[in-house]
């Protein structure tokens, strides 16, 4: 490293001045190592989830045969007095939950007599019951039934899957959009009737006329629903005629309509590009599709959407609130013991446990504010709450309260950093105090305010506890924004990546199977936070360049 310096005459070489450097440097190193280690662990555990690993056929000494994926291996814990070399055992994921009940099995490596990778083995991902590992037995369409040659069975299955998927999409469209619209319209008329009833308008002829109109509309909608339902039945029947039959390794047979198949592939025959294709497709499903099977499969798209929307809503509230409070504290208020104690109180607010904010949000926003809104504007829906329960608006407001100290403190610091000379120059030009703040002080403080916003967003996006009681659910059927008027449904409950991690990781009936999803969701949440921060930092960088002598 550095060459030894000759000791200067008359002065002892300073032997200890490197110690602080080593000490501080190594502490920073430890911190970095922990962060990198955490990220590495999450990525190593998470990113492998979607890779199509080979399917193993394992024969055990007692004659049982299993077909499954290697999940993990471990040393068998042994009593201390035995000194043999430790044996290993392997956890296989054998899937087929509907057949076996359990989808994992431990196999002692010593008991295995035979281990192969059957080329025709398929992984079947389906809408229900999780993955199925087995073989294609036959494929049946209204026109033909193929069961002789494995290659032909596979070809027919591949060929018939896309039309089946189209049929399924058409059925889903009718179920969700067409029937959904009819239901929404009927609900609107039912609520209108209820409103008339609440206003005691049914006694007068005008009210009665309205009542007749709504009732006619409901009858009309019922007739339309009957037609749609008949159509839907026919479509379902037609769809159910295209079926595939799969057999497990020990001869259990399942027969399912092809539209229930999400994905099917033969992992032991896939080429490397084929594997990459399956991997990317599963990754796409994870990011862009809604979850299936109690959140343990499918994607997390609604949770991503909920997290981003809630964070943006929160920023929308917290930034003006924080700026105004900081402006008053720093620019207008007379500095004295009162302002000092307010400042201390604001700082302490940041230390209140977040669940306390959650309880406050539930009591004040959901029950008090929401309940009042319901009584005033939505009495016909009671006792079903509209705004009176948890919702994305209340959750965002709660988080805004939680993060407002961060913005206030950052903004105050930014205001203090604006040179007093600028304020005096503005006042000396004949500007009022408000003009000075609005035109000179605030623009100079914006980068600092954005720093506060970034911190607030990072804190808000990662917060879970207060959300659990103010509007997050494990599965929200509808997003807070959709194509049904009024398009923005701030009263709706929503999904959140942080809560998703908790739910999948600790509330799932099948923890072992969903563990990998937890890592992926964590990775995604980190990604979302990083993206939001990068966006804010980008804006801040531009503003800084503008303020600091760049082109205007």
């Amino acid at each position: 490293m550095t060459p030894a310096r000759p000791a200067r005459p008359g002065r002892r070489p300073r032997r200890f001045d490197r110690i602080p450097i080593w000490f501080t440097g190594s502490l920073l190193g430890i911190a970095l190592l922990m962060i990198v280690g955490l990220l590495g662990l999450i990525m190593a555990r998470g990113l492998g989830t979607f890779w199509p690993w080979p399917l193993w056929e394992v024969s055990v000494a007692d004659g049982t045969r299993y077909l499954g994926l290697v999940h993990r291996t471990e040393l068998i814990p042994q009593p201390a007095e035995r000194s043999e070399s430790p044996a290993r055992r392997t956890l296989y994921r054998i899937g087929n939950r509907d057949v076996y009940g359990l989808d994992f099995v431990w196999v002692d490596d010593a008991q295995i007599t035979h281990r192969t990778r059957p080329t025709e083995a398929v992984v079947l991902e389906r809408l229900e019951w999780g993955p199925f590992y087995g073989f294609v037995q036959s494929v049946r369409t209204p026109i033909q039934a193929v069961q002789d040659d494995p290659a032909r069975r596979w070809e027919t299955l591949r060929r018939e899957l896309p039309p089946a998927r189209r049929r399924a999409r058409a059925i889903r469209y009718i179920e969700r959009r067409v029937v959904g619209n009819i239901n929404t319209a009927m609900e609107r008329h039912r609520l209108a009737l209820r409103r008339l009833e609440l206003r005691h308008a049914l006694a007068n002829p005008l009210g009665q006329a309205q009542q007749r109109r709504h009732e006619a509309a409901i009858a009309d909608l019922n007739a339309r629903y009957a037609r749609v339902a008949a159509d839907l039945r026919a479509k379902r029947q037609e769809d159910a005629q295209s079926r595939a039959v799969f057999a497990s390794i020990d001869g259990h047979v399942i027969d399912l309509p092809m539209s229930a198949i999400v994905r099917v592939y033969r992992p032991n025959r896939l080429s490397v590009p084929g594997r990459v294709g399956v991997y990317l497709d599963r990754l796409r499903e994870f990011v862009f599709d809604p979850p299936r099977e109690a959140n343990s499969e499918g994607g997390v798209a609604p949770a991503i959407f909920g997290t981003v929307m809630m964070t943006l809503l929160m920023s929308l509230v917290v930034v003006p609130l924080g700026i105004l409070a900081a402006l008053y504290l720093h620019e207008y208020a007379r500095q004295g013991w009162l302002v000092s104690s307010v400042r201390i109180a604001v700082n302490n607010l940041a230390g209140v446990p977040s669940i306390v904010f959650g309880v406050f949000g539930l009591g004040f926003f959901c029950y008090f504010l929401g309940g009042t809104i319901d009584h005033l504007w939505f009495p016909e829906r009671l006792p079903t709450p509209t705004f009176g329960g948890g919702g994305i608006l209340w959750a965002s407001l709660t988080l805004a309260l939680l993060t407002v100290p961060v913005v206030i403190v950052a903004t105050e610091e930014a205001l203090a950093a604006v040179p007093n000379g600028l304020r005096e120059a503005s006042l000396a030009c004949g500007a009022t105090k408000f003009q000075t703040i609005w035109r000179v002080v605030l623009p100079s403080a914006v980068p600092g305010v954005l720093t506060g916003t970034i911190l607030a967003m990072a804190r808000g996006a990662g917060e879970v506890a207060p959300l659990m009681i103010t509007g997050v659910v494990k599965l929200a059927p509808d997003l807070p924004i959709d194509q049904v008027a009024p398009f923005l449904h701030l009263e709706r409950k929503f999904m959140h990546l942080g809560f998703h991690i908790y739910d999948v990781g600790f509330q799932s009936p099948n923890v072992e199977a969903s563990k990998a999803m937890v890592y992926m969701t964590t990775l995604l949440l980190l990604g979302v936070v990083v993206c939001l921060n990068l966006a804010a930092m980008q804006i801040r960088g531009r503003l800084r360049a503008k303020l600091g002598g760049g082109d205007v």
Binding site: A425, S444, G548
Partner: protein, 282 residues
Amino acid sequence: MRPGLLLAVGRPLAVPRPVGPGGSLRAGEGPPPTAIDLETVSVWYGKVQAIHNVGMQIPERRITALIGPSGCGKSTLIRCLNRLNDLIEGIRIEGHIRLHGQDIHDPTLDVIELRKRVGMVFQKSNPFPKSIYENAAYGLRVNGEHRRAVLDQVIEQSLRRAALWEEVKDRLHTNALRLSGGQQQRLCIARAIAVEPEVLLLDEPCSALDPIATAKIEELLYSLKERYTIVIVTHNMQQAARVSDDTGFLLMGELIEFGATDTLFTTPQDARTEAYITGRFG
């Protein structure tokens, strides 16, 4: 729009070349009218008295210099003239300051209006982090002037008067913070005179500048006194001698001597003034 602005626009843009440093004083023209009249002004910061009973008549359209050692109250006094001291908590001002006969502490007088009539340039150049154009336009904009043609014209005129136009006319929309220190200070002068004040206060405007930039500002002041009453605070006695018509010497918050610059510098009446200008203290 204020009527004064129309007049300002109509004025000729050309400014006569200033007489060089050390030029003749306007002797023998009779006493000029008073612009600002200070009468027994005292200022306290909390319990500390910073200004003691200062009384002086600042003449119109001339340059009045305030000199004195650091901490003698020069800046405090000049900041009283546009009531910028109002911002400081715990300050108390007694006595009367009249601008053209009107008491500036009169409760019916709008302080914003006063500051439009009394412009100020500070020791540290403080352009806003905006474009050169927006800096010069600031005073008009806060006044509610939005017409582009008027702004363009007034900005050109004030930048010309501040002797900056030729240097920046091609980059009016670049950030003012990219200018050099001397240019920034001239921009601040342009910003102050864009609203056509009656009085221009300068608080040590050259203390952070090199000699060349200082010379430019001094020339500029010389040309500006055609239009404005100028009060300049400086601790540089050569500068006071070069540019000012009248000089006041402050010491420990007291006005020791006030009179025509050449009289004060050649035959000071007070022994302390003489000690200061000959460099025996301060």
